[in-house]
Amino acid sequence: MAYFLNTLFGSITPMCITALVTMAITLIFKTSFTTNFAQGVISAFGAYVVSSAFAKLGLSLWLSLPIGMLAAMLIAVGVDVLIFRNGRYVNALGKQIITMGLISLVVGVIPLIFGLNDPAFKSFVNGNFTITLSDGSVATVTKNSLVCLALAASVIAVIFILLRFSKWGLSVRATASNEYVAGMMGINTHIVTAISWGLAGALGALAATINASSGTVISGYFMTNYQVYAFLAGILGGFSTFYGPVIAALMIPLANNLVQYIVNVAGKPELTGWSMVIVYAVALVIIFFRPQGIFGKKIARKV
C-alpha cells in the first residue's frame, strides 16, 4: 500500500509539468494553428534565466521565477510578432518547420548568454512529509512536489476560468474556431495570438522551473520529453477542446508510473523499462480508433 502511495506521490511533479506544457501547446495550437516544437527550448531558456537570477543576482527562487517567466514570455511573443505575423501565408507544415528552426536558434543562443556550465538550481522547499500507514509501512511525499502542485493547479485553474468567463477567453475561443471570421467580428486576432504565445512561454518557463526544482539537470533539450508527452496528450485528448489535452496530460505520466507499479507488484521488475512503450502503444491504439481524441468532437464538414 505504501508503495502504491509512493507511486502516486512520485507522479505529482511529472503530471504538473506535462499539464502545464500541454496547456501551452494547446493555446498555441488553437490560435496559431501550428504545433510549437520550440516550446521545450523556450521553456528551458526560462529555466536558465531563473537559475542565473538566483545564482548570480542572489534573489530568492520565488522572485526569480517571475523573471524567468517574463523572459520566456518575451521570446515567445517576439517569435509570434517577428516571424509568424510576417509569415501568414506560410502553410501549416512551413509553420511547424519554422518552430523547428527556432529550436536550433534558441539552443545556439543559450551557451552564448549563460555559458557552458551546468546551471545551479534548488528546490522551492526542502524536506518530506511522511505518512505512516496502519501496517507500519511509510509513504513519503516531498514538500517541493506539493508546492509545485499548488502552483501548477492554481495557474491552470485561473487560465480555465479566464477562458470560460473573461472577454479575453471569448476572443481566444472565437479565434480558435475561425480566425478570419473572428477578425471580421472586430476581434484583434494579432493580439489574441500574441497573448497566447506569451502565456505559452510563461507556462513553459514555470514547467521548466518545476522540473528543475525537482532535481533534473537543466540543458537545452531537458524539456523535450515533456513536449513529446504534450503533443501526444494533445491528440489523445483531442485538440478540439481545451480541457481534453490537459486531462490526457495528467493521464500519461500517471499511467506510466502505474504500469511500473503493476509490473513490479506482479513480480517482473525487469519489465519496468517497457512502461513507456506500453503507454505509448495504448495511446496510439486509442488514437487509431478515435482520431478526434477521447474528448474531441468529430467535426463534420459539408461536402
Binding site: 512551413g94 518547420i97 551557451p111 552564448l112 503533443f231 501526444l232 488514437i287
Partner: protein
C-alpha cells in the same frame, strides 16, 4: 509542351557534322539523371580518397560519410513529403530499425553484413506498412504527431533492448574489411543506388500517381489511384531508406546511445532531416542531399576552417536555425528553387547576349 514539339519536329538548318553529333550525344548523356548521379558519386569518391591520403583535410572523410548516410534518409523523406504530401517525424525511430536489426542479426546468427542489411530492410518494410495503414485514417498535423509518438515508442524499445550498442568488429563486404574510413565508399554506393531508384520512381507512373495524391486525394481517387497502395508504398520506401541510413551510420560512427536526448534516434534527428529536405527544396533529391550537407557536413568541411566559428561552434547551430526560418519564410521551394530561378535568369541573359551579337531571332 512547346519545347518538346520543337525538339522533335524542328527541321535542321544544316546537316550536323560528326563532332556535333558527338557533343549532342554527350550532352544528352549528361542530362540523364543516372549519369549525373554516377558522376557525382565518382567525384565524391575521389574527394574522399584525396582526404584519406591527407591531401585534403582528413576530417572530411567521416564528415562526408555521415552526411551521405543521412542524405539517404533525406531522399526517402523527400519522396514522402515532396511527392506524396505526407509528413512524418518518425525518421529518428526508423533510422534505429536498421541499426538494431543489423546489430542483432549479425550478433545472433553471424550472417554477412549485406544479408543482414537485407533482413533489416524486410523489418523496415513491415513497420513502414504499419505507419502507412495509420496514415489512411489520420492526416496532417495529427499524422506528424502520431509518427513522432511511434518514433518515441521505437526509441524506448531500443533503450530497453540495449541502450548503447557499438560495432566493435568491422564487417566484411565481398572479402574487404570495412574500416571506418572505407565506410565512405559503401555509403556512396548505397547513396547512388538509392538516388537512381528514387529518380526512376519519381519519373514513373508511380511518381505521378503520388504527385496526384498529394495535390488532391479526391481527384486522385477519381482517376483510379488507390490511396492505400501509394501511401503504403511511400511510407515503406521512406522507412526502408531510413533504416539503410541507420545501418550505414553505424558503419561510420560505430556506437550510439538511445537514451541520449541528442542521439541518432531522438526527435532532433527527425527534425534535422526535415530541415535538410526543406532547406534543399522538398521536391528535389539533389536538394535533399545538399540540405543534409548543410545540416551535417557544413560544420566540419567549411565552417571549422574559419577560426572564429571553430572556437564558437554554438554559433553554427544558431545560424542554421536562422537559415531554416529564412528559407521557409522567403524561399518555400528551398535552395532548389533558387537554383532553378538562377538558371532561368542565366538563360535569359544568354538569349540577350546572342541577340546583341546576331540580332533578334525572327523564326
Amino acid at each position: 509542351m512547346n519545347k518538346f514539339l520543337s525538339d522533335k519536329y524542328a527541321i535542321p538548318r544544316n546537316n550536323p557534322t560528326k563532332s556535333d553529333k558527338l557533343t549532342n550525344g554527350l550532352l544528352a548523356l549528361f542530362k540523364s539523371p543516372v549519369a549525373q548521379i554516377l558522376l557525382f558519386t565518382v567525384i565524391m569518391g575521389v574527394i574522399g580518397q584525396l582526404s584519406m591520403e591527407k591531401i585534403l583535410p582528413y576530417s572530411w572523410t567521416s564528415a562526408f560519410a555521415t552526411t551521405f548516410s543521412y542524405a539517404i534518409a533525406a531522399v526517402g523523406f523527400c519522396l514522402l513529403m515532396g511527392y506524396s504530401g505526407l509528413a512524418s517525424l518518425g525518421t529518428g525511430g526508423f533510422i534505429g530499425i536498421g541499426t538494431y536489426s543489423v546489430y542483432y542479426i549479425m550478433a545472433e546468427s553471424g550472417l554477412p553484413f549485406l544479408l543482414a542489411v537485407l533482413v533489416a530492410i524486410l523489418v523496415a518494410v513491415v513497420i513502414g506498412a504499419i505507419v502507412g495503414f495509420i496514415s489512411l485514417r489520420i492526416e496532417g498535423i495529427y499524422l506528424v504527431i502520431l509518427t513522432l509518438g511511434l518514433s518515441e515508442i521505437l526509441r524506448n524499445l531500443y533503450m530497453v533492448l540495449e541502450d548503447k550498442i557499438s560495432f566493435t568488429k568491422s564487417p566484411v563486404i565481398l572479402g574487404i574489411t570495412i574500416t571506418r574510413q572505407l565506410a565512405l565508399y559503401v555509403v556512396l554506393v548505397f547513396l547512388a543506388v538509392v538516388m537512381i531508384i528514387t529518380s526512376n520512381i519519381i519519373n514513373s507512373p508511380t511518381g505521378r500517381a503520388m504527385l496526384a495524391m498529394k495535390n488532391s486525394t479526391a481527384a486522385a481517387q477519381a482517376m483510379g489511384i488507390s490511396l492505400m497502395k501509394y501511401r503504403l508504398l511511400a511510407f515503406i520506401i521512406c522507412t526502408v531508406y531510413a533504416s539503410i541510413s541507420g545501418t550505414l551510420l553505424m558503419l561510420v560512427v560505430r556506437n550510439a546511445m538511445a537514451s541520449q536526448g541528442t542521439g541518432f534516434y531522438a526527435l532532433i534527428t527527425s527534425l534535422n532531416i526535415l530541415a535538410a529536405v526543406i532547406i534543399g527544396g522538398y521536391k528535389s533529391i539533389w536538394g535533399a542531399v545538399f540540405g543534409s550537407f548543410i545540416m551535417y557536413g557544413l560544420q566540419t568541411v567549411v565552417l571549422n576552417n574559419i577560426k572564429f566559428l571553430a572556437e564558437n561552434p554554438v554559433i553554427i547551430t544558431f545560424v542554421s536555425g536562422i537559415l531554416v526560418i529564412i528559407v521557409v519564410m522567403f524561399y518555400p521551394g528551398g535552395l532548389a528553387q533558387l537554383v532553378l530561378e538562377l538558371r532561368v535568369k542565366a538563360k535569359g541573359l544568354r538569349t540577350k547576349m546572342r541577340e546583341a551579337k546576331y540580332g533578334k531571332d525572327l523564326g
